[in-house]
Every structure is written in structure tokens, then in C-alpha cells.
Symmetry: C2
Subunit: 110 residues, 2 copies
Amino acid sequence: MGITKSEHFTDEQNELATLAKAIGHPARIAIIQHLIKVNSCVCGDIVNELPLAQPTVSQHLKELKNAGLIKGNFEGNAICYCLNEEGFNKIKGFFQHINAYLENKKNQCC
Amino acid sequence: MGITKSEHFTDEQNELATLAKAIGHPARIAIIQHLIKVNSCVCGDIVNELPLAQPTVSQHLKELKNAGLIKGNFEGNAICYCLNEEGFNKIKGFFQHINAYLENKKNQCC
DNA sequence: TATTTATATTGCAATATTACGATATAGTTT
DNA sequence: AAACTATATCGTAATATTGCAATATAAATA
């Protein structure tokens, strides 16, 4: 029915999924990469970088912000965006766990 | 219009987005976590683990497989699934890059 | 080969996402 | 305050995702 059964999963599973989902769009990957490159910038800079209209970029920024992956501060009449360590720290452990597992395991059936 | 403008982004951006998107659902997080726990198992085991019907689980497994995050091998008349190192290695570098950046940077505006 | 077991596919309804034009809002400058 | 600049929100169309019942497929076993 198009609706995810979140209530049947753990908070951790839902939180990790929300974070991964927020990262799961090429425009949002591009925004993250740009913020790493320039450290911080205003929304207009990202509009100039991406092949998308201003409202679309604004929407993507909102999703990244809601997920806790970026932060925005008013700076004059513009808004300065940068990465939010908190969000990325939450995924970090998950991938470290996976990588540690993959380095040690002997593939059994695959 | 509901359609992602993939052609305007780089292959790397599209690939990372596809991988993150595949991880971005609590059922698929649960599948990955279960595979880490038991190393490998058949589809039926996952159906028993998750609060979802068999066709739904099958669909999630397909998405993880298409993204290159899991592999499946026939084992009798069942199919044995386990994690696919290849897919996870592709995201690894992205997060390592982000983490290295976040550890070094002095937050400038946020 | 008929039956059973395990998984995949089809078809469909409900909901979510993506994209953008038009417009609103908020701060800045003149 | 009026005009300008920067960003957010609204409304809407097109498309994608989620979930499952029904059914198909494929291998194992009787």
C-alpha cells in the first residue's frame, strides 16, 4: 500500500533507514559532496551548482536537514549550510559494523 | 514530475544514491542486520524474522540484490542469501571521506 | 510424474517522492 | 517604506515505492 510499516521495526532500524534514504538521491549526494568541498555555502550557491530549480533544491536541503545530515544558519538574508556531524555519526557505527564483519567472515554459501 | 534527473548527475553520484536508497528502508536494514548475525540464510528464514508477507520480503531481497548489496545461491530448492562485499565497498570510501572531513574541519558557520 | 516446498512474479491499491511554477516570507539596502 | 535579494512554501502533475493476494516457477521428494 505504499506505506512503510515503521511501527514493526526497531527505532534503530527506522533511524538508519531514514538517514540512508535521505542520502539516497543523486542531488543530495551532490549537495553533500559540494559542502565537503567548500566547507559551507549558501543555498544559492547550490542552486548554481545543480541542474535543478530553486524550489527543488530547497526541498532537498529540507530533507537533508530533517534527517540531521546538514545544518543551516542565517547569515545576512541568506542561509549558510554545512554538514551536521551528528547525523553522520549515527550511520558511522552501522557501516563500521558491516565492514568489520565483511573483513573477517569466510563466505559460506555465496 | 516524480522522475529523478539521473542524467544530469555523475555516474558516481547516481551509484552512491542507488546504494543508499537500497539501504533506506527499515525492512532492508533488518535483512542486512540479520545476515550479519547468521552469516547466511534462506529467504524463508527472513520471512519468519520480518513482519512482512513473503512476496514483500522477496521484493526487498530483489532490491538489495539489484543494488549489489547481497548475493543469493541456490541450495537445494531454497536460495541462500548473504552480504555482497562489492556493494558495501563502493559506499565505504564515501563515508570514510565524510568522516575524515568531519574529524578535521573547524565548523565555520554552523 | 504428482505432490510438496521454496521463492519469484503479476497485478493492483494506497501512499510517497520528485520536480517546478507561482507565490509567500524574511532580511537588506536604498 | 519601497525595492531588492535569498529562501521557503503551496499546489499540482508525473512517477516511484510499498505491501500483499493470487499465481507462477523451480527444485526435491514421494
